[in-house]
């Protein structure tokens, strides 16, 4: 309050990376520890503790989050982080700005890129294993989505509640995997067609 002008400066100087905004977003839903964040972030963006802990320390130094030690019995103490007013402002100022184009890193597709050097049968086998992976991941995501919808049947309809966006973002990922499964089956079909003409 007293040094509002200085705080505004801090806000403008801060150039944060994606992980910072992801941490702020997750902590705004509910205050929690670095360990919790890593687990919550797993379905969206796998990240290591060795990256999260220093990030939280940095955010605290910048005054965007604050923390307090929470004593626990039978397990190690927790350091629980909460988003400050400044942190919330930095996050909401960022939302709506022009994002960088999305980037997909997928070694499987890199392999397919040069799969013309392989026997078509081998490529079919690769795609079939990929389908197994896609189905397994989809089932996991569908379980998460089902639980979410069962637990918050009303909140997921309210765009002012974070559960609305968790609902649609989970649905999007599932649709994405579904679409890749359809495509994979199409490519398998094309490969088998071509093989039958030899």
């Amino acid at each position: 309050m007293m040094d509002g002008g200085q705080m505004a400066n801090v806000k403008k100087e801060a150039k944060l990376n994606t992980l910072c905004y992801q941490c702020l977003g997750i902590l705004l839903r509910e205050p929690q520890s670095g360990y919790d964040i890593v687990k919550q972030l797993e379905p969206i963006r796998p990240v290591n503790t060795s990256q999260v802990y220093p990030t939280l320390t940095r955010l605290e130094k910048q005054g965007l989050v604050k923390s307090e030690e929470l004593a626990q019995t039978g397990r190690p103490n927790k350091r629980v982080y909460t988003v400050t007013e400044d942190g919330r402002d930095v996050l909401t100022d960022w939302i709506g700005t022009e994002p960088d184009p999305p980037v997909l890193r997928d070694d499987f597709l890199t392999m397919l890129y040069s799969a013309w050097t392989k026997d078509p049968e081998e490529v079919v086998a690769m795609l079939e294993r990929r389908l197994d992976y896609l189905h397994a991941t989809m089932q996991w995501l569908e379980t998460l989505l089902g639980e979410h919808r069962a637990r918050y049947p009303e909140e997921i309809k309210n765009p002012r509640d974070w559960r609305f966006f968790r609902n649609v973002l989970l649905a999007r990922r599932i649709a994405n995997f579904q679409e890749e499964a359809v495509w994979s089956r199409g490519v398998i079909h094309m490969l088998k067609e071509a093989m039958s003409h030899d």
Copy 2:
């Protein structure tokens, strides 16, 4: 030929990253320069020259590619790289191994994750701008795919030709964008529904 045993060792020691395999794959299609690789890689995986040039130097030191200077008139000389036998072996040995799970980096989705802090109208505006981006990118990819299919109508049917895989991989990216566009319109619809009930 003389030191085949040593070469086999080199092959096994080499632990390459994704970019290395992408460079080997692109050079196996056709020998070309670092500059060419950056441009060819653009629709799949945007990468800087400052990462590609050192990578090619490293691959050459490992004997996986070889290069020769190509004199040009009216423009700078080119260093054209070609994949060696060892390089081809390293690449084909890698294809078919278990790939790391794919990772999507997308700041737009990170923004949506915390978009419950914003007015639903603002979120609708964000999604509509996203649709513009999606349509523009799709049109670009569809142009590339159309040209490819027109130029190689026979080759794209042959799974022993790299053009087959370029065809299906481009189609996959387009389907992906298409699917996200459908999803975006769905979310816009849900937001407008919720807004009308206030």
